[in-house]
Amino acid sequence: MKNEGLKANEVDYGKLIINADWCKGCGICTAFCPTKAIVLKNEKVTIADIDKCTQCGLCELRCPDYAIYVGRKKNEQKD
């Protein structure tokens, strides 16, 4: 991991990881989230209900700024 020391202001919600510093608030992820697990608040993406998240990865696929991504499931984690 070459960016280990990168000071990205990330918050780990378990299923999803969000970096609000990179989010520009375009709303694409929230509009195309099939379960509406995420929502825009003060022009930044935040969690609406983490239990609704199915880790489908569409937010990660369509985020133009790489500000949101799916956290790895426990059985997929590498050392």
Partner: protein, 274 residues
């Protein structure tokens, strides 16, 4: 720490990018790195070349061998790189104006030459970086800074143009259909010859605002609603296809590749001289 993909293939210290909120370019750039990851290419053997424009900022964020060149000339630089180092996988990122207006002649002749490059044109229908002037891809009657009453020029169809000029692999995706872009780029990189992938991207700041297309989400929704896959279009009537555009693979017809032909000449001549 960013996601594994971003950590591995991006210069994360340069992020967030300069692109406007909701610009599709970031999505397409990511789709290209996913293709490189899935092919398992050695990052040291990948070279990403771009010209000038919004799209051409992309290599600045990508952690490969990258080159940011002059307006419209990305393909000329890429041709030089490929001829000097044929083992490199050369990916060219251009915008619609960069590739088809300023670089139009380079574009058609690179297609004709069938050199092993993979060109991805980020088509946002306008010159974004310089303030919203109309490009050869601005649809007829749409507005730009230099066409305040509507543009009366007809547009190019980049994919038809490339196929007619001799590109051996041609396809189209959109920023909404990022997975389609990934699969097309994968096949394009694997194709020995010139591959052209058009990726339709939304420009909410200039094209969207000037033409009342709504915000980023509306532009993505437009792509979702109006893109028709090639296979689905075969079963549709011309009336049903009115106002729609096609996505998918349009041409896959391998032909002799330029650097190989060039090497053949060298081999033949050296064989004769010795």
């Amino acid at each position: 720490m960013p996601s594994q993909l971003v950590d591995q293939y991006f210069r994360a210290d340069k992020l967030p990018q300069i692109w406007c909120p909701g610009c599709g370019h970031g999505i397409i750039t990511r789709a290209i790195t996913v293709a490189i990851e899935q092919l398992g290419l050695d990052p040291d053997k990948v070279c990403v070349v771009s010209g000038i424009g919004c799209s051409s900022r992309a290599p600045g964020y990508l952690d490969f061998n990258t080159l940011h060149t002059t307006h419209g000339r990305a393909l000329a630089f890429a041709t030089g790189i490929k001829l000097a180092n044929p083992e490199l996988k050369v990916i060219v990122i251009m915008g619609d104006g960069d590739a088809t207006a300023i670089g139009g002649n380079h574009f058609i002749h690179t297609c004709r030459r069938n050199i092993d490059l993979t060109a991805i044109i980020f088509n946002n229908n306008i010159y974004g970086m310089t303030g919203g002037q109309y490009s050869p891809l601005t649809p007829k009657f749409d507005k730009g800074t230099t066409a305040p009453y509507g543009n009366i020029d007809r547009t190019f169809d980049i994919c038809d143009l490339a196929a007619a000029a001799g590109a051996t692999y041609v396809g189209r995706g959109t920023s909404y259909h990022a997975n389609v872009v990934t699969s097309l780029v994968k096949k394009g990189i694997m194709n020995e010859g010139f591959s052209l992938i058009e990726a339709i991207s939304g420009c909410p700041t200039y094209y969207g605002r000037k033409n009342k297309k709504g915000g980023p989400v509306d532009m993505m929704q437009w792509q979702k609603d109006n893109a028709v896959t090639v296979t689905a279009a075969e079963k549709m009537t011309p009336e049903q296809l009115e106002g729609k555009f096609l996505i998918g693979e349009f041409k896959n017809k391998p032909e002799p590749e330029y650097t190989k032909e060039y090497q053949n000449i060298i081999n033949n001549l050296q064989g004769r001289d010795v």
